[in-house]
Symmetry: D2
């Protein structure tokens, strides 16, 4: 419903805080949306790991992509809730987010996001979130 | 346990992504930690409201302050989980976060954060979160 | 919008699993809905504390009451999400839930619930939850 | 680490509220723990669907099983947080819960639970939860 190029244009032109993270789009398709957040030293927090707010931003934007992969460019879709469990401290390295929808209703989409470090096989954080979908023409 | 000046120094020197938000410390005391995020146009998302990742970052950092207000400068404390409910779309204006602890255990702190826009009386988002506390000398 | 007697009738006649808990309605008003769950020994789990599922049930039903306190007898309102943080292990004693709405939209209500043991001053669990509100005549 | 028979004995002898649900153990192994909750008419709520508290109880107990499948009979493990997203209203039919751990730390286990109705292919609810693990001998 949306191409990687179209999603990339939305991030670049309409989400300046996403643009500032220089996210790379790995996949945007019916199955899953995958984004990569290239490592930068200003993502670190005490302890030398990547800060939670960066992981939450990455996950939220990946889910935004998953909603548009299912519905087309519904830019006005907004997060209504998000829960994150931090599992392992991500080392100084790229982080990848894989978002999938588990429900696509008329008004609400629900999805999960799994976050992985480029350095480790095991998941570093797990997210579930809901998006409110704006009314659309029939 | 920690002064506003000491918390401000941690944000400035050790949390570059917090520093980039230019957060202002309104209060750091035993009752609550209050931070203000001054509005910037690059916080906006489609629809002209402030993006969810900014609100999540502000809430997480306010809770970090509340943990240090209770325990002193435990910089290595890390978020283990966070749930946010977005209640109203925050207009282009400053946002304030008020964090309070509801449990302070030996290994885990739990708190809530209420987010308010400078433009509205009603809460714009509600957060509950948990922090893992590093082992400390007796 | 709904009296304690009317809410009690809904619990008794239409929510058999709530009825089985013998919940007592302490208050149902615009400010808050308060329910008490009288202690029974079959609520216990290993360690001699009250099981999590009992606390979740109590909180969910208290929030259901808060929605009806705001809107009248919208029995078809359904929970769409719920997050609970368990703070302290509740000893064998009555548990009280205090539910408050923090948002009342046309389609969605959001609230928090604080759970207390009759034996202790400190909160034993904190809940945030969302209810989907059925369409109503204007 | 624990057999289905051993887990069944814990539910029967030490969790009376689980015993009251007559849960059936479908699988308890390293990969996943699967429980089935046989339908009963007293599980229904207004609208003719299965009440949220029953789904939350089923999910929490499935995750308890997953923790013991990984660690052995650590009966004193307790839930510290749980988030549920209700996706579709479960019709009057059996519900199955599939629990998997996504982190197994020394002190904390984190898992997800997917709930399915016997009547439908699509997930009816999704849960993420954390369990605190009691100290064990080395």
């Amino acid at each position: 419903m949306i191409t990687a190029a179209a999603f990339e244009a939305i991030l670049r032109e309409k989400l300046p805080f996403a643009q500032a993270l220089a996210l790379e789009i790995v996949a945007v398709d019916a199955e899953r949306t995958v984004l990569r957040m290239p490592y930068r030293s200003d993502f670190l927090r005490p302890g030398g790991t990547i800060g939670g707010p960066l992981l939450m931003a990455l996950a939220d934007i990946a889910l935004y992509g998953a909603v548009m992969a299912a519905l087309g460019p519904v830019e006005q879709a907004v997060t209504t809730s998000l829960t994150i469990n931090f599992l392992r401290r991500p080392p100084p390295a790229d982080v990848t987010a894989e978002a999938r929808l588990i429900k696509l209703g008329r008004r609400l989409a629900v999805g999960t996001v799994e976050l992985f470090s480029a350095q480790e096989a095991e998941m570093v954080a797990h997210v579930s979130g809901t998006y409110s979908i704006p009314p659309r023409p029939e």
